[in-house]
């Protein structure tokens, strides 16, 4: 009973840590990006200052805003918080991982996106509708690729539970699986699309014709904007942590001792910093795509994940 209690407390602490660390990852990415592009970089703590400022600000709502518009930030943030709670960050075998598996995780993302798109349409401006329409198109194409990649991994590990899959990869050791390589590439491409990064979307722009995600949340301000921004930072971190868990989980704590947890925390920090640098490199060498090139990009991601699955069936099961 006692160990159960400790596990639950740890799980809650991990979820809170996840949510608290998400802006730091965003800050790190922004900082590295500025350095790489020879610009003066803001501090890595800047996102916290932005959030704090937004949380304090008085809000202006559009006249036509309905109750749905006011509920959406909470729904989006709540969905991301729940999603963060089920992803193993510094330790596996936490009880929260059993609440939701990788399919439910995708369901949380879909829930957040559904309501964000509705909020975009609530005010009745062309921007909101445009953002919603494009975001739903992009996500409709990204979701199959994402699930296909996840299916490849979960068929290998014979589970859809994130924590158990992570442990499976740990136990299997350093085995080179071609299917994992394909899945990793597909997952990386989907991450880029789903987290509104270049080349699919540009998180830094407010140019009218290039916005996707920003167009939907254009009418938000103050604490609602803070919640939504924070939620998208958490989303980026979830994708990054899922990639880390599936493909290089080494270092993650498998027992709840202080030493193991410390190693896990250090390991995951290092890995996320590395991933952040890779993301920045990717964003720096690529330019934003035209909207109707995005289907080809995501089609390629889907193809990669199908190839990964077929490789798994043909090469790795040996039946």
């Amino acid at each position: 009973m006692d160990s159960q209690l400790i596990a639950w407390v740890l799980a809650a602490a991990q979820a809170l840590l996840f949510v608290a660390a998400a802006p730091l990852l965003a800050g790190w990415v922004k900082c590295v990006k500025c350095r790489l592009q020879n610009r003066a970089a803001p501090s890595v703590w800047q996102p916290y200052r932005d959030l704090a400022k937004l949380l304090k600000k008085r809000m202006v709502l559009a006249e036509n805003a309905s109750w749905l518009f006011r509920a959406v930030p909470y729904i989006v943030f709540g969905a991301m918080l729940l999603a963060a709670a089920v992803v193993p960050l510094i330790a596996v075998r936490l009880p929260t991982a059993a609440i939701a598996d990788v399919i439910v995780l995708v369901g949380f993302f879909a829930l957040a996106r559904f309501f964000t798109a509705l909020a975009g349409m609530d005010i009745g401006t062309a921007f909101g509708g445009m953002g919603a329409s494009r975001e739903m198109m992009v996500s409709a194409l990204a979701e199959p690729a994402l699930l296909m990649a996840a299916f490849t991994l979960s068929m290998t590990a014979a589970t859809t539970n994130l924590s158990i899959a992570t442990e499976y990869v740990l136990q299997a050791g350093l085995v080179l699986r071609p299917s994992f390589l394909f899945a990793l590439l597909a997952l990386a491409m989907v991450t880029v699309a789903e987290c509104s990064r270049i080349p699919v979307d540009n998180p830094a722009t407010h140019l009218e014709l290039t916005m996707l995600h920003e167009a939907m949340i254009l009418e938000y301000g103050g604490r609602y904007l803070a919640l939504i921004e924070w939620a998208s930072q958490i989303k980026l971190m979830i994708y990054a942590v899922v990639i880390v868990d599936f493909f290089l989980p080494w270092g993650i704590a498998r027992e709840f001792t202080a030493a193991a947890l410390a190693v896990g925390a250090v390991a995951v920090t290092a890995k996320l910093m590395l991933l952040g640098v890779l993301l920045v490199a990717w964003e720096t060498v690529l330019a934003k795509m035209r909207l109707f090139r995005v289907p080809q990009f995501l089609g390629f991601a889907f193809l990669l994940s199908v190839l990964g699955m077929l490789t798994h069936v043909v090469l790795e099961t040996g039946g």
Partner: protein, 681 residues
């Protein structure tokens, strides 16, 4: 447990009797006494629904199989009746919908008693009652004769309900197409029963169960049944009647048709293949899986192009039937390959989705009906901003949208999750091709689910959000309490079935015990909080925890953010500095689906036409622009139009023998008589 007679069966008879009474009462609902329809008829329907729920629920939960027989009809053909957990489950589903529409109907049908849409009331009540009666009795049928009689009663009364507002040519056309395909379907079902009866030596289902068919004949019987019931269920490409017929019926009837009637097709497929034939084969499963995947994907792609709200919902029924069939197909593949538990899981996923679809599609049709009732609009392009005018309807409709888009924690998510989990067990199969196509089918299901979410963002966003696009919509009012009650019942059930999946799956154990002699032993191995369909290590999902977490997050958020925050003020939305925005600057339904239309262009026949009239003067500019878009379903053009031409050409050839001369006709009769005498002798 098996017994003759019994209280649940009596309750089922009572339900049927209430349906009959409901029809009889509506006969008196002439123009001067509309109350007979509004109160009497729906009161009996309420009783019929309640009795159906009671009898079905009893048979299902207590795992009862009750039989009975009547000496009706010819002396050598008795009528066999049987209530078992499977028919009980569908009875429960039917009863729930009947209950919801009996709350909703009294207000909704007021529209037909007066005003623009005035119609004679007795036919509506009578055919609604016969429609319900047909479904109740075909679920109880235990021989092919009774089954076909009530199947036809359901189909025919459905025809009269579709054609109820017969003044519009489109309704008559839709109803004719419905009638035609319903009869083609019924004929093929009859052939399937014929095969089974020939081997079993009689028309009763018991004889068919004991028949031992060769694999070829079993496959034939299955193929005929799948085709015939597939027409009713609306699988691609047999679906063409469905998007025409469902939208034109009165909305509570649309809800019954999409919620219950097409499920009778699913009932038929399950009953014939799992129960009557018995040994399902994995090859059938492959066909069902492929047809299901095609239906799911094409259904949602067609749906997304619609701007008629009810037509959009009708196309989504095709999608959801596809998802149900995917579950069934997976179940057949696993059962046929000897994986009993996995086969059971697929069956549970399919039946769960059947129930879920009945609830949320019923809810959505009732919601569309509520909008129609207040605004007389079915076209999304004319709606907008209804969330301000009809807040409760908007909330109910939103619940339906979230549920059908398979988002947690609502019911649609659970059944799709179970389908995914079944598909992910593909590595258990020996056949490498199957191992590869099943995950691809699952990915296509993910695509369908994502597109469904896009479609319902469009449906809800255009209809309920933004600014009103017409005056009638701008002045809409909330609908009466009865209609809200009907919707509220279904919305609550959507949430409950999403939050307590473990209990629902445990309740469904008698069905799978009956059909495949297996239950899901590990579904509730960790208690009702955790749904673990295969084992806790493979996958788990805890919807109650999710709901608790949502409540806690909301509570904390409220305390920390909302209470201490400064009040907001309202202002103009961002207009780029150009001045007043108006409702015509919003995204329309067509605009919303444009990116998807462009990406999946080959799926439809798209005719796009822009007509520009140039203005006078040296600077080229447009005086007026006229945009036309026509999106059509390929299956109609590629399958049905050629068949139609073929039939007409054949008729012209045969028409040669039609001389119009009475002597010739008498000669024909004489020749036919001689021919038959020769055959008999």
């Amino acid at each position: 447990m098996s017994a003759a007679g019994g209280t649940p069966l009596l309750l089922a008879y009572a339900a049927a009797a209430c349906s009959l009474l409901s029809g009889a009462v509506s006969l008196f609902a002439v123009r001067r006494h509309p109350g007979f329809l509004h109160f009497g008829s729906f009161l009996f329907l309420f009783a019929a629904g309640a009795a159906s729920i009671a009898s079905g629920g009893w048979a299902l939960l207590a795992d009862l199989t009750l039989t009975d027989q009547f000496a009706l009809g010819p002396p050598w053909l008795r009528w066999y009746v049987r209530l078992d957990p499977l028919s009980g489950f569908f009875m429960l589903l039917l009863g729930t919908l009947v209950l919801a529409i009996s709350l909703y109907g009294p207000s909704y049908t007021r529209e037909f008693a007066r005003g623009e849409a005035r119609q004679p009331l007795p036919p509506l009540g009578v055919f609604t009652a016969l429609f319900v009666l047909g479904m109740q009795m075909l679920l109880l049928a235990d021989d092919a004769l009774v089954f076909m009689i009530f199947w036809e009663m359901m189909s025919l009364s459905g025809y009269f309900l579709v054609v109820y507002q017969h003044q519009h040519a489109a309704n008559r056309h839709a109803a004719f197409l419905y009638l035609l395909l319903a009869h083609v379907g019924a004929l093929v079902i009859l052939i399937s029963f014929g095969v089974l009866a020939a081997f079993g030596g009689g028309l009763s289902f018991d004889q068919m169960r004991s028949a031992s068919l060769t694999p070829l004949w079993a496959t034939l019987a299955f193929a005929f049944a799948f085709f015939g019931f597939g027409v009713k269920a609306g699988v691609v490409p047999l679906h063409v009647w469905l998007p025409d017929a469902h939208p034109v019926a009165p909305s509570h009837i649309s809800a019954m048709m999409s919620g219950a009637m097409i499920k009778m097709g699913i009932y038929g497929i399950v009953r014939v293949s799992y129960d009557l034939i018995g040994h399902v084969r994995w090859e059938w499963g492959v066909v069902v899986l492929i047809v299901g995947t095609a239906s799911a994907l094409l259904g949602v792609l067609y749906a997304i192009m619609q701007h008629d709200l009810k037509r959009l919902l009708a196309y989504h029924s095709i999608e959801n039937i596809g998802i149900i069939l995917m579950g069934l197909g997976l179940s057949m593949i696993f059962l046929g390959s000897g994986h009993k538990v996995l086969g059971t899981l697929g069956l549970v996923a399919a039946l769960y989705h059947t129930l879920n679809h009945a609830l949320f599609k019923g809810l959505l049709f009732l919601g569309a009906g509520a909008v129609l009732y207040r605004t007389h609009e079915r076209d999304l392009e004319h709606m907008g901003g209804l969330i301000h005018r009809m807040p409760v309807t908007a909330l109910m409709f939103l619940v339906g949208c979230v549920a059908i888009s398979a988002l947690p924690p609502f019911n649609g998510f659970v059944s799709e999750w179970l389908t995914f989990q079944t598909a992910l067990q593909a590595p258990a199969l020996k056949n490498g091709v199957l191992r590869a196509i099943i995950p691809i089918a699952a990915a296509l299901l993910a695509l369908a689910a994502a597109l469904a979410a896009a479609c319902f963002v469009k449906a809800f966003g255009i209809a309920f959000l933004g600014k009103p696009r017409t005056r009638r919509v701008a002045h809409a009012r909330e609908v009466p309490a009865g209609m809200l009650g009907g919707m509220g019942l279904l919305a609550t059930l959507c949430l409950l079935l999403g939050v307590f999946p473990t209990s629902v799956i445990e309740a469904m154990a008698p069905i799978t015990q009956l059909l495949v002699h297996e239950a899901l032993p590990s579904a509730a191995v960790q208690g009702w909080l955790w749904l673990t369909p295969i084992s806790p290590e493979v996958a788990s999902y805890s919807a109650p925890f999710l709901v608790i977490a949502i409540v806690v997050v909301f509570g904390v958020g409220y305390v920390f953010l909302k209470r201490r925050a400064a009040p907001w003020r309202t202002g103009d939305p961002w207009d780029c500095g150009f001045g007043q925005l108006n409702h015509r600057m919003q995204y329309t339904s067509t605009a919303f689906s444009q990116p998807i239309r462009r990406v999946f262009g080959a799926v439809w026949k798209v005719e796009e036409d822009v007509e520009t009239v140039a203005g006078a003067g040296p600077i080229p500019r447009a005086k007026s622009i006229h945009y036309q878009l026509h999106v059509q379903d390929w299956s109609w053009l590629k399958c049905y139009v050629p068949i139609g031409h073929l039939v007409l050409a054949a008729a012209r050839r045969i028409g040669v023998i039609q001389t119009g001369n009475i002597h010739t006709y008498l000669k024909y009769s004489f020749a036919t008589l001689l021919f038959f005498l020769w055959i008999v002798s």
